[in-house]
């Protein structure tokens, strides 16, 4: 597209000739089909779960006879599910708070380092992304066991979630701080603002969206996390663990409702996180 417009511009034709336009449209049909197929592949599974969670009957075949909320009633009356929801919420909250604080501090610290050291430290902190979660999971499990902390409980899973969330927090925050113009701060100081005033009126509002985005992202990582929780929490099941335990049983339509609740929670956090960070890049 860019190529065609640029060429048209150089010869001074102005708007594209109809022939070129038609050819371009034909060209992009394949691309559009690819995008649609990919979207179907990525989102159809989730759509199926959400759809069947509102099914009137227990059958899992199309077409569905009617809509109802009975599976949500059933699932939310289940004390095991309610307890797991509570634990997932706690884990997400603590991961967001601690992971967010650690990551934001580290991102600020990175800005002050000489560039050589900055690269090294940044690589260290990003390493968990490239570590198989399985390795971290059994590593953490045996570690706590060796330290004499047993039986395994929720805080151990949270410790792992923070580790997984940190790279994402750091990436988001570093990107935001790289865009931040420190000359603004210098200008404010030159004009007589105190250090604190410069921070609260300039740095804080400019960086706030990225901070919120990073915290929400950390919470999303925690809510969706399965493997570390599986190896470390023991009886303190989070929502993904309850789903895992119930998947193998006979088909239970309540699971669709449960999965939808988990899906809505993670997607909502991820959407909010992406939106807040994107809005900060637009500025």
């Amino acid at each position: 597209m860019t190529a065609l417009t640029a060429k048209a511009g150089t010869v001074g034709v102005g708007p594209l000739p109809p022939r070129g336009r038609r050819r371009r449209r034909v060209k992009n049909v394949g691309a559009r089909i690819f995008l649609v197929l990919l979207a179907v592949f990525l989102f159809a599974p989730l759509f199926v779960v959400v759809l069947f969670s509102f099914n009137q009957t227990a059958s899992l075949s199309f077409p569905i006879p009617g809509l109802s909320l009975r599976w949500y009633d059933k699932v939310l009356d289940d004390p095991e599910v309610v307890a797991a929801l509570g634990r997932s919420a706690i884990a997400a909250f603590v991961t967001g708070l601690v992971g967010g604080t650690l990551g934001i501090l580290a991102a600020l610290g990175l800005q002050g380092l000489p560039s050589r050291w900055r690269g090294i430290v940044q690589t260290i902190v990003l390493v968990p992304i490239a570590t198989p979660a399985l390795l971290l999971a059994i590593g953490l499990a045996i570690y706590f066991n060796r330290l004499g902390i047993k039986p395994p409980k929720l805080p151990m899973a949270i410790a792992g979630h923070i580790l997984l969330a940190l790279p994402f927090v750091l990436l988001t925050m570093t990107a935001a701080l790289d865009r931040f113009r420190f000359s603004l701060l210098e200008a404010a100081r030159d004009l007589g603002a105190t250090r604190a005033r410069a921070f609260w009126t300039i740095t804080f509002p400019l960086v706030l969206p990225a901070v919120l985005g990073a915290i929400l992202l950390a919470a999303a990582v925690s809510i969706d996390e399965f493997i570390i929780a599986f190896f470390t929490t023991g009886t303190d099941a989070t929502l993904p663990l309850v789903i895992y335990a119930r998947i193998r049983r006979v088909i239970d339509p309540g699971l669709n409702a449960l999965a939808t609740i988990l899906l809505v929670a993670t997607t909502l956090l991820a959407v909010l996180a992406a939106r807040t960070t994107v809005s900060s890049t637009r500025r």
Binding site: A3, N28, P45, L134, I142, L217, A259, A270
Partner: protein
């Protein structure tokens, strides 16, 4: 000042990342007797990992299926990243946003969904039965390597898109334009401009996907059936059923060594693509 700000995170890493992995490494060299890990240090665990026919089959299957899934994910993610960067640049924000969201949305929900879709009483079979196209449900869809690869690719695509998309932002359309004006062929442009700039992103994408797939546990456990379990499932079995942590640790270390070696070999080999 900056050291003080970095210190909490670095300490956290030391305690919760380096510590656990070091313990895992040490334990893999301990002996297992009467459900206790005891000295002396030995390489017996690694020897039994290497000698066992069962384990070897699991390692080969894990590496092959993870490799295939990572390859497919990259092959699908590359044109997607290309399209949203160069063909539909105005929609790129929206499309990228959708992919980003699906990266953080519903790992286990997706697995459950594939069971719902592919199972004996699942959507595909149920719908085909209702339509009268088949009389007996097809049993072979779920609990097969096919189901594992489908679910893995589905979960890996967003992970592959991110680094490839990021590296494509380095390619300025003007550069391609200039090369074309100077008479370069499409192949030349791909080989001499696109590949050198995008290849680092592709490498990272493949490495991410391969590592994530090779260590996956829930997908083979819930979609794979007996014939397609991964080494991770055997590790979980050793921990859960026999509490043989040293052997499990040795398997995990062997897996990471294999994955790192294969990724390094590929990275080295891919250098020749741009020569």
């Amino acid at each position: 000042m900056s050291i003080a700000q970095l210190a909490p995170t670095l300490v956290y890493f030391l305690v919760f990342y380096v510590g656990p992995l070091a313990v895992l490494l040490i334990i893999s060299f301990l002996s297992f007797r009467d459900f206790q890990f005891v000295e002396p240090f030995t390489v017996d665990n690694y020897v039994s990992v290497a000698r066992s026919e069962t384990f070897r089959i699991l390692f080969v299957r894990t590496v092959l299926l993870a490799f295939l899934s990572a390859f497919l994910a990259v092959v699908i993610a590359y044109p997607f990243a290309h399209l949203i960067t160069f063909v539909f640049p105005r929609r790129s924000r929206t499309l990228y946003f959708l992919v980003l969201v699906s990266l953080f949305g519903g790992y286990l929900v997706r697995i459950y969904a594939w069971r719902t879709i592919l199972g004996i009483e699942g959507v595909v079979n149920g719908t085909l039965l209702t339509l009268g196209w088949i009389t007996d449900p097809i049993r072979e869809i779920l609990n097969s390597p096919f189901a594992v690869v489908v679910a893995l690719v589905n979960f890996l695509i967003p992970l592959a898109v991110l680094p490839i998309y990021a590296s494509m932002q380095n390619v300025s359309p003007g550069l391609i334009e200039a090369a074309r004006d100077l008479g370069s062929s499409r192949l030349d442009i791909t080989r001499r401009i696109m590949l050198p700039l995008v290849l680092p992103g592709v490498r990272v994408a493949f490495a991410f996907c391969f590592i994530a797939a090779a260590g996956d546990f829930a997908i083979p456990a819930l979609l794979g059936g007996v014939g397609s379990s991964f080494i991770a499932n055997q590790i979980q079995f050793q921990i859960g059923q026999t509490a043989n942590w040293p052997l499990a640790a040795a398997m995990a270390m062997t897996l990471i060594a294999l994955v790192v070696a294969i990724t390094a070999a590929l990275t080295w080999a891919s250098r020749f693509l741009t020569r």
